[in-house]
Symmetry: C2
Subunit: 660 residues, 2 copies
């Protein structure tokens, strides 16, 4: 039943485009051997990249920060998935970050990084990212590159159209890809009651202007389509948020066929300002809902997870003027708004054109009630011709996603014909096209979805890489390609592999991030209840079966480093405070045979490993991060005595053991 | 108690060396802006790198494959740590790989990748890597880039001097960094009984010539020093294995001070051929020992874990001629054997010279009994002057590790003075030095520890990177630096960040790996008991509370995609077979709210996710790897009914449900 198989279509664009680049066989290389490209991507030792690109990890669940133009992976930021490397999701302080209404969830699928915006421009403060599988939105603090907050979203399945933010980061949104019965609503219903019992829900999450703290403000109950991507309006269209919908057929099986029936699906336009007003007027319905809200505190260096129990909904069919649908050819993926806020570009992956809608015409069509029927008898479908600014003709096959540069051009990825197409926003004329290797999904231009694009580069994320890199068995990397877009013609500069599957990236000039960097945590401000500020304060305390070890790490010893009196069956919490107060001096901590991971402790931080000693013996522990010439010597021993023994708690470093 | 703090010492070598390179401040860049360097590291889109470098992830627990000269990260190979990205350690098939005698261990600290060797040359078949924390050795299959086997090592703590292999991969070894009482031996003893009760143990693991299968052959019980690194002899010294030892003071607390007392520690030389003979003669003592042996089967695509219960030991004090000690200044780290097998280079991290021992002189000293006393009254310490070929004078501060090129030169990292030193193996004269940024640990030259170095590049792994890259908060990347060593002077070409902390790397010309690549698994050869070979065979089977879902994945649907009759409290095993038979067409699989990770299923493979539905409702599942233009449509639903309900098992795709 191999119905539609696009994955292996070769880059037809290479032949269409007349570009110097052609598909290439292993070992033969591409035609692009330009020394100029080498120079453009080379960042000499000791020099810095110009741009940060934040890529989602897709099925890795994390976010990765790359330097551009070098394509170097600077850091993997743990978000939704356990990260044994630094103990994320294993240490006691971070476990609550992965709590959900379904219990501890070790993994998610992160898709769309979104930089916080002020006046429609990237402000470099936070990066939001969606968890698609178990619906959540995370907020990463870009001064520490740590995930500070994760908010679960009730009532939805597949949080894919997320977390796009409004012009001043008033809200970030989450919308359902897999419509399902609202939580607590339907009872035990069959799947084929889809049209009756399944719903979509658009979550508007309020973001605090100062702290970035998120709060689920309200949810709009919408028809059970698959909502794919979104973008907020800006400037004149500030009050609106646009979403693509596919499966407007409302199929629940074999969507490959059944959700590809209609020639047009929709762009859903939501007047979020109006929704906000309705909520302020008390028009929302409060309904029970269970969702976790996890917050990391930078002073205690610890997370808490609180289970929320209520959401507020608006049934959009009951509030005219809230939601309109614009017909859009066919199975649209990206919806992208031009820097001036006037053009709304939707990319139908099975469409032969790229429709560009006009915000002005949309308002006009609403005003004039230029409808083409309604959905659910209440939600107006605007006439295609009435809202259309125009179509980009013959763009290629499988348009997916569009961003904008600083010179009035748009760039769209063509998944099926494997190319990037450059077109002029004002007249919709195609200016240039270049093959991409292979099957590009999204692309990213620094500031490319903001009011003020920086331009210069486009980073194209490819789904297929076979024959592009040295092989690595059946499981290959996914990858990005960097194009220079400073000139009239796009120029492919570099292929670089990526971590996980980058569904989308946001890119920002480095200076907006560098200036805010925290280099280490101040020990004096550490309020973790188990922190100790000097070696003198280190201790080991037993309370019944619970033993708390207050330990310090400092080049090049862990204190205490000889600990006795631990017994089989104890629950031991080792709280390690890194006493260093300088940049780039982490310490690690690991125990032989422990059933979790290690700790990686930044200067000034306290982190806790829980350990259940299960057998008698001597158990070594050590620092796992090569911290000095005497790092190898940074080790110690636990003595674990039998359960019934009377060996007292004893701890020491050097020669004089302290007995509790 | 900040006693020895080397980490922040600036690269003094920059001033000593008269190099064009100097330490540079953020934003200013280094002096090396040579366009020639750019050209040398640039691999144009579509072209391939020349060399694979396999780096340990250190505290990430994994191995990363990089392309050289570009420095691009090709793949992270999961080994000892859970990897949510592809379900390693989460799927039913791979969980056994992380089993140990301590139960399931989610993490380890991987240090030293070791390529298998034939006649002393890298043969490109397997890569071995040690788990340092919970002592283990893993074997990665370089035709699939998958971990095929993990063998735990009993009786040791901190498997650091590991897994170095003999000239024909007869054995790989593991030696203890943290001596401890042998398993089952000492009872509940205090830590300060170290000298009496603690022991070292050197594990010799036999490697099957054809399959690579590992088996713990024997263990040598040695004095309780800290064994740091090792290398096998080659050519004339084929029969010997050399290990560095520090903490020959046998301290158990504050090693930073107490293990730095003696001016000389040791290189321990073991005649492994003799040990093998003794074992063959039945001289070994069989003792109980519990250690896991985990094997991944490429046909069932599943791992098994077997708990072994016995080891065979030799107490080296009882067998003269087995072990000798060569005095070595001070706290030695690397011990490296020249391509001709004659020179044994030991790097004392607190030493001011690099001693180069002569294999011939060692044999001669043994022959003439040129001893400087014994250890434990039985193990001869050879006279320093008798075994010394010579010393490399004034190499810098903190020599750590040495490799060799194809032209008779050796390269040694200097951790404290942050530089790489090139010297001539025959006359021990220093030829060149270059700063490294900062604090280099190990280095890697393609074939650099083999009989036939390829040379051309040296990759230096740095422990400190502050101010070398765009900042990423308090937690920074670790990194490598690529030098061109084809000329007389070393030339720094490129800085590139790394995953985790690369303690060591092994590098090999790409052609040795590329030719063996498996591109996909043959479906016809898949013998996983839950595999289905076509959609017709898909089914859902209930047995009591256990439900097995036999599912297939194929662009662009999962079959079945509507599944009913699952009940709260069931134990559901979803076995997904990827029916594709082409390169680079993985499918993913995830369930909303599941408490483990996703599956990433390669073509022809079957992988299983265990799911415990805990509440009534409709639960979406989907493909997590963007596999085609209709990937977004590749989804389905479970219906979970209440525990007591009588909804029958029902599954379908398209329209006709099948009832069990």
């Amino acid at each position: 039943m191999k119905i539609l198989n696009y994955k292996l279509i070769l880059p037809a664009a290479a032949f269409l485009a007349g570009s110097a680049l052609t598909g290439c066989k292993p070992g033969q290389g591409g035609a692009n051997t330009d020394a100029d490209a080498a120079k453009k991507v080379y960042v000499a030792p000791g020099k810095y990249d110009e741009v940060y690109t934040f890529m989602s990890g897709g099925f890795s669940g994390q976010v990765a920060a790359y330097g551009i133009p070098s394509g170097r992976l600077l850091k993997v930021i743990p978000v939704f998935s356990q990260n044994p490397e630094n103990g994320w999701g294993y240490s006691e302080e971070t476990k609550p970050m992965l709590n959900t209404s379904h219990g501890f969830v070790a993994w998610d699928d992160s898709h769309h990084p979104e930089l916080s915006k002020t006046n429609g421009e990237d402000d470099g403060r936070w990066l939001f990212i969606n968890g698609n599988n178990t619906p959540r939105i995370a907020r990463i603090n870009l001064s520490t590159f740590k995930t500070d907050e994760i908010l679960e979203l009730p009532n939805i399945g597949g949080n894919h159209a997320s977390p796009f933010c409004t012009e001043n980061t008033e809200y970030v949104v989450g919308n359902t890809r897999f419509s399902e019965p609202l939580d607590n609503a339907a009872g035990d219903v069959p799947i084929d009651s889809y049209k009756k019992n399944f719903k979509g829900a658009v979550s508007f999450v309020k973001v605090d202007k100062e702290s970035g703290a998120m709060k689920l403000a309200f949810q709009l109950i919408v028809p059970p389509f698959n909502y794919d991507l979104a973008h907020a309006g800006k400037g004149p269209s500030h009050d609106w948020m646009f979403f693509t919908c596919y499966n407007t057929e409302q199929a629940h099986t074999l969507l490959e066929v059944n959700a590809s029936q209609r020639d047009k699906d929709f762009v859903m336009a939501i007047n979020w300002k109006k929704a906000e007003e309705l909520i302020a007027q008390g028009k929302g319905t409060k309904t029970p809902a269970k969702y976790a809200h996890n917050v990391y505190n930078e002073k205690t260096h610890s997370a808490t997870s609180v289970m929320e129990n209520e959401t507020q909904t608006l049934d959009v069919t009951k509030f005219p003027g809230l939601v309109y649908y614009m017909p859009c050819p066919k199975s649209p993926h990206g919806v992208d708004v031009s820097p001036d806020g006037e053009s709304i570009v939707a990319s139908g992956k099975l469409a032969a054109v790229i429709p560009v809608f006009s915000y002005k015409k949309m308002l006009d069509a609403i005003d004039k009630k230029q409808y083409d029927g309604t959905i659910d008898g209440a939600l107006p479908v605007l006439k295609y011709e009435a809202v259309l600014r125009g179509e980009v003709k013959k763009p290629g096959l499988g348009p997916l996603h569009t961003e904008f540069d600083d010179k009035g051009f748009a760039y769209t990825t063509m998944f099926v014909s494997s190319e990037v197409v450059k077109w002029k926003v004002d007249n919709l004329e195609i200016i240039d096209r270049s093959p991409a290797f292979y099957s590009p999904g999204h692309l990213s231009i620094p500031g490319g979805d903001s009011k003020k694009p920086y331009g210069k580069y486009v980073i194209v994320m490819d789904k297929i890489t076979k024959d592009r890199y040295l092989p690595t068995g059946p499981e290959l990397c996914q990858a990005a390609q960097l194009f220079d877009i400073s000139g009239n013609k796009m120029k492919l500069l570099l292929d670089f592999p990526t971590i996980g599957e980058p569904h989308y990236a946001q890119s920002i000039p480095a200076e907006k991030i560098v200036k805010n960097q925290v280099k280490f945590f101040k020990l004096a401000e550490n309020t973790n209840p188990y922190a100790v500020k000097s070696e003198k304060e280190t201790k080991v305390v037993r309370n019944g079966k619970r033993v708390d070890v207050y330990m310090t790490a400092m080049r090049s010893h862990l204190a205490p480093d000889n600990i006795e009196g631990i017994k089989v069956g104890d629950e031991v919490y080792i709280h390690v405070t890194n006493l260093e107060q300088d940049w780039d001096v982490p310490h690690g901590f690991a125990i032989k045979g422990a059933n979790n991971a290690e700790l990686l402790i930044m200067p000034g931080e306290t982190t806790t490993l829980k350990w259940n000693p299960y057998q008698q013996g001597i158990v070594p522990f050590y620092c796992t991060d090569f911290c000095s010439a005497l790092h190898q010597e940074m080790q110690g021993y636990f003595r674990v005595s039998p359960a019934g023994s009377n060996v007292p708690i004893k701890f020491s470093i050097g020669v004089n053991p302290v007995t509790q």
